[in-house]
Symmetry: D2
Subunit: 167 residues, 4 copies
């Protein structure tokens, strides 16, 4: 077991980063809340943080996924955590898994079913699990949700339950 010491955190948005906007009564992206989450968590990890986009994953395009791929390839780190909307998280994971250039890296996708800023959220739990998985898991592309780690090619989201399950 080799513990990777620095983690690259790539932020793409998703439910985790949404906030309630009082003037419209809708959810929106005011900017990432990951620094607030990590401070509340008392994290002392060496984390390099890059905000790639702030998008609902239902609106993610092939270009967005290519950009995420490239960011993983370009990263100097062997341990990468990507925050991502849950609806198309599996799609992005599969794209990353097909990248020959990423086979030496541990890439973890995670997100939340309830925005961090609305309280009573799964965001902190998921991020804690994802950051630990990035340090400990063998190279590969994984989804960490519901306390579990899934291989990119053996996971699906059950939308009715709001849970990730093996195929």
């Amino acid at each position: 077991m080799q513990i990777k010491s620095t983690i690259h955190l790539l932020i793409t948005g998703g439910t985790l980063d949404k906030q309630y906007q009082a003037s419209t009564g809708e959810l929106f992206f005011p900017g990432t809340h990951l620094p607030i989450l990590l401070k509340e968590a008392n994290s002392t990890l060496a984390i390099e943080c890059t905000v790639l986009m702030q998008k609902d994953s239902l609106n993610m395009t092939d270009e967005d996924r290519a950009q995420i791929c490239q960011a993983c390839i370009d990263s100097p780190q062997k341990a990468i955590v990507i925050t991502h909307g849950t609806d198309t998280m599996v799609d992005t994971a599969l794209v990353l898994q097909q990248q020959a250039d990423l086979t030496s890296k541990t890439v973890i996708l995670t997100g939340a079913m309830r925005p961090f800023m609305l309280g009573n959220s799964d965001a902190s739990f998921n991020l804690g699990a994802a950051l630990m998985a990035a340090q400990l898991a063998d190279p590969g592309v994984y989804i960490v949700m519901n306390g579990q780690i899934f291989n990119a090619d053996n996971v699906q989201k059950n939308r009715q339950l709001g849970q990730f399950k093996p195929l």
Copy 2:
């Protein structure tokens, strides 16, 4: 990398489980909040849960540590997470590490600097990280705090910073 599928969660109390008592203006243990935390986290892990005690770790005795040890030995699971007060977490970890009967198990101690029920707590983040470490880490006794995993014999708590650091 072998992922352990069932986790035994041993609950001993600590700051994580404290709550504010309005009638006295003090913190107390009304019973563990771990089930609430795991539900909020949408955990689908197979978790066996045992409440051993509800104690401030400053009040833990040798008998308490012997009881925790025995619970780890008696557990049918290879992956164990112990929630524990932070002040003497290292002491308990060292006792567990000296147990010859535990060398085939992955034992993770974790806790929180702020009670889960007071909001803005590190509890969910720490528990997410600890449960993932229990699934992925090699056999041994570890402390998971601040997003990091420490070997039981190479960690100390810096009380002024409220952070765990290597020796």
Copy 3:
């Protein structure tokens, strides 16, 4: 100053009662949260509580307003608090003010700019102010928001600021 001893709380929905639905990523009405709010507030007021509807006030019809009116007229109480969406709160207040049958009652409309269940909400503050105004204010129809009490015929909502102001 005569303090009215029992308050009739008429619940119509509005932002105050919305909650985030993880499966859809949208806000919805799972049922009123007023009992939770009043318990958290340690209220010992004698409150009679009626849920008339659970509606976004933008969707309120003339029939809905007629129903609210009738509920105020039918109430045996002299002090009435109505929870209501903020977007058309003034419209409903004006309808109530035109009711000759209500001139002997103190009717207070209030609501919230952020749902109670999302945390960091103005709901508890507004309800505390509204319930106090219902006990103390002279008969009439009022809106209580932003810590202030406005006559029904001298108030408007500034949507950009999300605040109520005199005309």
Copy 4:
């Protein structure tokens, strides 16, 4: 009914303003949270704010009460809200009521059974009620807690229930 337009908020501490200190595991006074509370509440009231002290009301001395009295007398406002610990709130209210110089002012004491910063608190509800009572109530000294308004000479705290009741 005459609505007082500006309110003097005198802050003395009490449970409302306490926060959890991670390094010691105890509650302390890091400075008042009233501005945060009022912002969350979207208050647009004209409020003049003075921090007199940050004290647990069990530690309040005759000198402290004399200081609070003097601040009420010196205030240019007719409407005054005092935040105060609940344990000796009645004592302070009675001292204020004996002040001949205050008979033309409406003075409201309020507080909280759970600190604002611990979440799920009664602080915002109580402050909303107190600020409204300060605007509407006849001159006199009152306690506003549990959604109710009590005359200073007809109220006691039931410590077991954590509620204020008439004598």
